[in-house]
């Protein structure tokens, strides 16, 4: 602490040094390389050239598309999310609890698999629904073209609206009902109360959820890649992908990609900053931490119609796409009608036991997910420990570096990792699993830091000091006191990383090589190559793995917390 003390190089300094080194290599270097490549041309700082790139019709169009799509998704997602949140918290809708759980299911499902399903249902010529209308009902053309702005916005809305739903239903549940009751006693009618009291109070939650939707939609790759490319709709992440993939490392395309990435990073940072401001401002005392029993609006005659709306919505957005994936995955050839003589188990068998490409992909995803989760979990504990518990100068840097990837979209991380690990510094990991592993670690470090610092903050310093006073060395105190107390945080971190890593597409699609496809990449490329049936079958298997994983965690976490 003081300058007078002897300069010792003890454990704190060693841990600090290690943590900084890990984060610099994994996070800082790739990020800096992106900015460097974007702004540094032929040894000069060059802004004019950046503007030239931005004004190129292709990039300009992608930026515009990203904006249009994310704004569209934000509006629809916010409306849908707020409406359902209100319905399940503040009305006498039947089966509210079940409905609430069902509305959270889309969070589990990868959006690009959903997009795949909707492509099968609503692509203009081959989509099953469109074909039904043309062939059976005699329509002249498709009733809906999913390869459009509207189609992309619709599909993204289905998978992103829970951001608003969670925030708003939480706020509505925690809002003190006496606030509304006192307005009622003062003589206000229900519409006035809703307009003057309820909406202003939950507005911060709505806004913050809306900004999260915007952040994710802006950086979203899967849906746009599946549905947009057919009709030439590119957003920033898909254009980065095109640039990197088509032109195998030409300088010009890498530059375009880095400029796009820079725009994406700045936008994301802006959105997160706004969200923080909204949350900080909206932290009214009135929305307390504990749950009240909110007053319920009697829906009367609308009770059943609104229940039907909810059931239809869930059937349409969850059941229909999922069923489509499994059915198409069982077809002998894509395009055949769903009758029993066209259905077979052999696709699933082939994918799981015969085909090296898909077996490799499943193996890659599981081993990558496990290693990334384990490494990030342990590194996260150590780094959080330094951040939360140690008095070392400059630990703010650690915090900043660790949380940075939280605001950095996956495609940007992947691009940075390509720039850093393709032989520039004498190590070429391109086309190996290691480059994907590094990108996963960078991407998910923030998850681990959040879970672990939250757990560590619960461990007061005096608990460790009490152990020291009882005769424990620092190592013994860590082993007997700190580790057992942060173990739930570590377990949480592990699953927070393992499950998303299993279904990851955005990062791995930029980094995969001939033998390093992940499940996501395999589904995506099979679909691109016209192997729709195998793509669907693999997607079905992925869904099963994901759902099983989620259920397992819920079990594990609840049994852990009830035991503690």
């Amino acid at each position: 602490m003081t300058t007078k003390t002897h300069t010792r190089f003890g454990t704190p300094e060693l841990l600090f040094g290690l943590s900084v080194a890990v984060l610099v290599i994994v996070v800082a270097v790739p990020m800096l390389l992106i900015f460097f490549n974007a702004f540094w041309v032929d040894g000069h700082f060059n802004v004019a050239d950046v503007i030239r790139v931005l004004r190129h019709p292709e990039t300009y169009k992608a930026l515009w598309n990203s904006l249009v799509l994310s704004v569209g998704v934000t509006i629809t997602g916010t409306i849908v999310g707020t409406f359902f949140a209100w319905l399940v918290t503040r009305t006498d809708l039947p089966f509210k609890r079940t409905m609430k759980l069902l509305f959270l299911v889309p969070f589990m499902l990868p959006a690009f698999i959903g997009a795949l399903a909707w492509k099968m249902l609503l692509s203009p010529r081959a989509g099953y629904i469109n074909r039904f209308f043309i062939d059976v009902l005699g329509f002249d053309g498709p009733i809906f073209n999913i390869y459009s702005y509207a189609g992309i916005i619709l599909v993204e809305t289905m998978y992103l609206f829970p951001f608003v739903f969670i925030q708003v239903s939480g706020a509505l549940e925690r809002m003190d009902p006496t606030l509304e009751e006192s307005a009622r006693i003062s003589g206000a009618d229900l519409i006035t109360i809703t307009r003057k009291i309820t909406i202003p109070l939950v507005l911060p939650s709505i806004l913050s959820g809306a900004l999260l939707i915007m952040l994710y939609s802006m950086a979203h790759f899967g849906t746009v890649a599946v549905l947009g490319i057919e009709s030439g709709i590119y957003n920033i992440p898909t254009l980065i992908y095109e640039k990197i993939h088509q032109s195998a490392g030409s300088f010009d395309s890498i530059r375009t990609a880095t400029v796009l990435a820079t725009v994406l990073v700045i936008t994301a940072a802006l959105i997160l900053w706004l969200q923080n401001r909204v949350l900080a401002k909206g932290r009214y005392q009135i929305i307390a931490g504990k749950s009240f029993r909110p007053s319920e609006l009697k829906l009367r005659g609308l009770r059943i119609p609104l229940l039907v709306v909810c059931i239809l919505y869930i059937a349409f957005t969850i059941v229909l796409p999922t069923a489509t994936i499994f059915m198409v995955g069982g077809l002998k050839t894509y395009g055949l009608p769903f009758v029993s003589e066209n259905l077979t188990w052999s696709n699933y068998y082939h994918i799981l036991f015969e085909w090296d490409l898909t077996r490799g992909a499943i193996w890659n995803s599981i081993s990558l997910g496990l290693s990334a989760a384990l490494i990030t979990m342990f590194a996260g504990v150590i780094i959080s420990y330094v951040i939360v518990k140690m008095r070392v100068r400059g630990k703010g840097i650690l915090e900043f570096l660790g949380m940075l990837p939280f605001s950095v979209p996956g495609s940007v991380i992947a691009l940075g990792v390509i720039l850093a690990w393709s032989g520039k510094f004498g190590i070429n990991l391109y086309n190996t699993v290691w480059i994907i592993l590094i990108a996963y670690i960078a991407r998910y470090m923030a998850f681990s830091l959040k879970a672990n610092s939250a757990a560590l903050e619960q461990v007061h310093d005096s608990l460790v000091e009490a152990a020291r006073a009882s005769g424990a060395t620092m190592a013994q105190a860590l082993r007997d006191i700190v580790v057992p107390l942060v173990r739930p945080g570590m377990v949480a971190a592990f699953f927070l990383i393992f499950l998303p890593a299993l279904r990851e597409l955005t990062v791995s699609v930029l980094l995969y090589g001939p033998t390093t496809r992940t499940i996501g990449v395999a589904i995506y490329t099979l679909n691109e190559d016209g192997e729709t049936v195998y793509s669907a079958a693999l997607a079905g298997i992925a869904l099963i793995i994901i759902v099983l994983g989620e259920v397992l965690i819920k079990r594990l976490v609840t049994s852990k917390t009830s035991a503690a």
């Binding site: 602490m1 003081t2 007078k4 003390t5 002897h6 007061h460 005096s462 608990l463 000091e465 009490a466 152990a467 020291r468 006073a469 009882s470 005769g471 424990a472 060395t473 620092m474 013994q476 007997d480 006191i481 057992p484 107390l485 503690a564």
Partner: protein, 365 residues
Amino acid sequence: MAGVQIEGVGKQYAGRPVLSGLSLELKDGECFTLLGPSGCGKTVLLRLIAGFEQPDQGRIAIDGETVADAASGKSVPPERRGLGMVFQDYAVWPHMNVFDNVAYPLKLAGTESAALRERTLAVIEMVGLAGLAERLPSQLSGGQQQRVALARALVSEPRLLLLDEPLNNLDANLREEMRFEIKALQKKLGVTILYVTHDQEIALAIADRVAVMDESGTLRQIGAPEEVYEHPADDFVFRFLGIANFLPVRRDGDALYIGGSSERWVGQPPDKAGAQLTAGFRPSDVLLSRASSDGEGLAGIIRRASFLGAQVDYLIDIAGTLIRAALPSHECLARDLLFVEGDACRVSLHSVQWFAGKLVATAQV
């Protein structure tokens, strides 16, 4: 059982001195309380002795063995100082039950398991938690958790027990009860105790000796509780040990007047020289009589009267200075001394501390 020597200890945080040149000696087997306002550095001193902080200057020895020396850079780690410590927030480990919490120091010391069990259960019983050994801390009340912390600190029979405001978070009844128990345990076990607190009542009740520390980390007075209470070294100590009344007194030749008035001072003459003096006294030092009676005393007017049950609390105006008086209710009733606002009265004092200069009471009303 051990004495503690603290010699010229100094500690800075971010360049700001918290303690400087502090010397203190704890005798073997005594209960020593360190009393001071919050933020005065008393907890820092405790942590220096425990070994969680290293002094920037000076030396600390326990039982004659140097455990920290700024000059040589020597510092014995906390686990090898052979002490027990009870923290303000108890620091009971939430993932261990009462038995495991208390047994932990013995486990570390490698105590053989039958002896460990016997000793642990004995200590748990000693602090009054018999039968609760299998409970988790979350199933215990604050007072019970506090006992667990105490048992854990005592189980390995440390030579020195450090207590950092351990009774702060307890309610008044429990606090009183625990305070007697700590004292009783100390007598029984003969352990040296350093008890740090800002609560003068606990400090006086429990201590063999008290040290009073001011905001700047300087020790103002060390002595037996009654000595410090009855003969405070200065006005800081006087103020800190209870409600303080200050009455300014002016010396004019041989005559003494109150404040700027022409009212004469009557009562115990000052033992201090100087023209400006202050008479300090406690509310309980005040004796009242009716203004009509012919007894001697200072003329006062009752500004506020509050009946508090066992005693009556008066706010009295003496020549422009407000003082507080506390009289036993039965005495007021027996001697017709239940005054109401605006009544005139006579005030005499049965004990006065004289201070040089003009002092103002911190909390007047």
